[in-house]
């Protein structure tokens, strides 16, 4: 027992040492994400995206007077309890100047309402998409680069309509993200004149969805719209549906956008049969290309859902700090809008040195990010650009911006 205690004590001393060693000239930004919990598999690339932004910035001169930008990770577990706890830690103990996160809408809702708004810290979420975040009474302290489901739901509905779908069956995982998206989609598709033959909620993480699919397929729909995380239930549903021959055509949103969908189901089966919208920039857009090249070099797929958002969010926070010229939380919050939208020198991913020079010269900057122009509206939301993605000849997703 004593031995265990000694080892623990030793370990914590070492950690404390690492901590103190890094404190010199660093500016901390909170990185709150659902590292454990139901979307653990999605979070890894998102955090990597945020980290890559910080690494690039530090390599290109750092913040303000060469200070290091440190992303302080805290686990929000997709649980509002953990979200509040994580927010408290980064705000009070780590004294972060701003926060990127949290991941899930529920954790974000708790964190901002209970912690960051009262504390006056700006929170910029890269993946919380619930419409309920839009109308928070937030003193301009809550922003997101992920478009509200209200936009994406409508975008998928329009896409489906344009592709000639008139009757669709739909199913959604019962979680904060997918339930919101499904609601918007249903209303929008019906508004266009389409018919939803059957709409079913499902509980994620079940071993089989065959009986649900059988009910869904009853009324002769042309395809199935799936709102789910690929890991929680999305892949299982598509697999079950294809194996049973119940549906051949699928529509989905960015929770399903991952290479593992193709890897696990098979490119040949999915080619021409699936369309996934994703909040993203045009893949030919120089901003996206700049991000994708660098991110791929870190060993992650640039197409991973919300990874580019993570990058943009961290980069925007850095720009706001630089623009504010200080680590004052209120000043950063005020500067965030200015650096995100026009007018100003256009800054693209990776162009930190250019941004730093422009700001030093007193110019305005306008970040055009990997996922779009990131211009915030009055509620701190972005309209977002969406791409439609299909399976390309190489077995990878290929996307085109929806105009």
């Amino acid at each position: 027992m004593m031995k265990t205690f000694k080892q623990l004590a030793l370990a914590s001393t070492m950690l404390a040492f690492v901590g103190t060693a890094a404190i010199a000239d660093e500016i901390k930004v909170g990185s709150v994400a659902g590292v454990t919990g139901p979307i653990a598999e999605l979070v890894v690339p998102i955090v990597a995206g945020r980290q890559m932004a910080a690494d690039q910035i530090n390599a290109a001169g750092g913040l303000l007077n060469g200070d290091t930008m440190t992303m302080v990770l805290a686990d929000s577990q997709c649980d509002p309890k953990a979200g509040v706890d994580a927010g408290t830690k980064v705000v009070n103990v780590e004294q972060v100047v701003a926060i990127v996160g949290a991941s899930c809408s529920g954790a974000t809702n708790g964190m901002v309402q209970s912690v960051t708004i009262p504390a006056g810290v700006v929170a910029l979420s890269d993946s919380a998409t619930a419409p309920s975040i839009t109308d928070l009474d937030d003193n301009d302290l809550v922003f997101r680069v992920a478009a509200s489901d209200a936009y994406q739901g409508a975008a998928i509905a329009q896409l489906a309509w344009d592709q000639g779908y008139r009757t669709l069956a739909m199913t959604y995982a019962n979680d904060d993200y997918n339930a919101g998206l499904a609601g918007v989609f249903e209303a929008a598709f019906k508004g266009l004149g389409g018919t939803i033959t059957s709409n079913q909620m499902h509980e994620p993480n079940k071993a089989s969805y065959r009986s649900e699919l059988s009910t869904l397929s009853g009324n002769g729909a042309e395809g199935l719209a799936i709102f789910a995380y690929y890991g929680g239930s999305g892949i299982a549903i598509m697999r079950n549906a294809l194996e049973a021959g119940l549906f051949e055509k699928f529509l989905a949103a960015d929770g399903m956008f991952d290479q593992s969908v193709i890897d696990q189901i098979g490119a040949d089966v999915l080619r021409d049969n699936i369309m996934i919208t994703q909040a993203a920039s045009d893949y030919d857009d120089p901003s996206y290309v700049a991000f994708a090249g660098a991110f791929e070099a870190t060993g992650h797929s640039p197409q991973a859902p919300y990874a580019a958002h993570g990058y943009d969010a961290a980069f925007l926070i850095a720009l706001a700090i630089e623009k504010a010229g200080s680590t004052d939380r209120a000043a950063i919050s005020a500067a965030l809008r200015e650096v995100a939208g026009p007018p100003g020198v256009v800054i693209r991913p990776g162009e930190w040195a250019k941004a730093k020079a422009a700001i030093a010269a007193g110019q305005d900057v306008n970040y055009e990010g990997a996922v779009g122009n990131n211009d915030f509206d009055g509620n701190g939301d972005v309209t977002g650009l969406f791409s439609v993605n299909v399976v390309g000849a190489d077995g990878k997703w290929t996307g085109n911006l929806i105009r």
């Binding site: 027992m1 990597a48 509002p80 830690k89 004294q95 529920g106 809702n109 309402q113 209970s114």
Partner: protein, 315 residues
């Protein structure tokens, strides 16, 4: 200076969370510690209390039924009453079951409760949760809002503690201890064992409902994910076992200590570079499991072993 101020605020947060968990742990202590009832469905009573208090106290909203704009004290009482009623129903049904059967049954019931709150979208806004839950003293300027929240939580814990200590030393508490030690002889001595057990279960459930309600007010937001069994059930068990099952002081200290460990370890692990920081989140869970094992194997009585009362000649 800022750093010190920040640490103080974090300290308040630890006390608030720890205090709310202490309510859950005290509730569990009545059931498991005093009476030997193995309730593995803490999350169920927690989520009931949280939603009841949340919906009653919020301003009217289109997203869910109500709100009813009740003052927080009233909504908390309602949360306790509803949790107690559900506890009563569960107890009536499950009281005859052997310890581990009871655990599995209550775990299943908690899961069903969570599914109800998640699926009955018209009532609860489903998975999207309830927002704008009022928080006691939130209009005060920082840090006094935090200070007052902590004071409220700790005051409730203190009241519960004194009530439970009195109950433990009362004839009622002695009979409970006697039942746990030897059910047959308590029965032989003419005690209505089943009724007393139901009482203990109901009181414990009400306290878990109170904890859930306080958590909703503290978070200002609640969704079904907050009733995740790992942090709403298992963590409470760890707290009680570490503190000392059967000892109210142990339940409180266990809750405060384990919450601090649960929360504060991350401050260290997040200093690890990149990928390791993510992976260390898993290690944190591992350490909690290991700690539980070490406590159970080396210190099964916990930090505060139960003070055995003389159960008298009736036992």
């Amino acid at each position: 200076m800022d750093q010190l101020y920040g640490y103080s605020l974090y300290g308040l947060s630890l006390l608030t969370f720890g205090g709310i968990y202490a309510m859950l742990a005290l509730g569990l202590n009545i059931q498991l510690g005093f009476t030997g009832l193995f309730n593995a469905g803490i999350a169920g009573f927690f989520v009931v209390g949280a939603y009841v208090s949340a919906i009653l106290s919020t301003a009217p909203s289109e997203r869910h039924i109500g709100g009813f704009d009740w003052p927080i004290p009233f909504s908390l009482v309602a949360a306790m009453v509803v949790s107690a009623l559900i506890g009563w129903a569960v107890a009536r049904i499950c009281m005859r079951l052997r310890a581990d059967y009871l655990a599995i049954a209550t775990l299943g019931i908690a899961e069903i409760l969570r599914l109800i709150f998640k699926n009955e979208t018209d009532l609860t806004n489903g998975a999207r949760g309830v927002s704008y839950i009022p928080k006691p003293y939130e209009s005060l300027a920082q840090p006094w809002n935090h200070v007052m929240m902590t004071v409220v939580v700790l005051a409730i814990v203190a009241v519960l503690y004194f009530m439970l200590e009195r109950a433990r030393k009362s004839p009622w508490g002695r009979v409970m201890a006697a039942i746990r030690e030897n059910e047959d002889s308590a029965r032989a001595a003419g005690k209505n064992v089943d009724r007393l057990r139901v009482q203990a279960f109901v009181v414990g459930s009400a306290m878990m409902g109170l904890g859930g309600g306080m958590m909703a007010h503290h978070l200002k937001f609640i969704d079904p994910n907050a009733a995740d069994p790992t942090t709403a059930t298992f963590l409470v068990f760890v707290m009680l076992i570490v503190g000392g099952s059967g000892n109210n002081k142990g339940a409180i200290v266990g809750a405060l200590l384990m919450w601090t460990i649960w929360s504060a370890t991350e401050i260290f692990t997040s200093m690890l570079p990149g990928d390791l920081a993510i992976r260390s989140a898993y290690i944190r869970v591992f350490l909690i499991g290991l700690m539980l094992q070490i406590m159970l194997q080396k210190f099964p009585q916990g930090l505060f072993p139960e003070k055995r009362l003389e159960t008298g000649s009736s036992g």
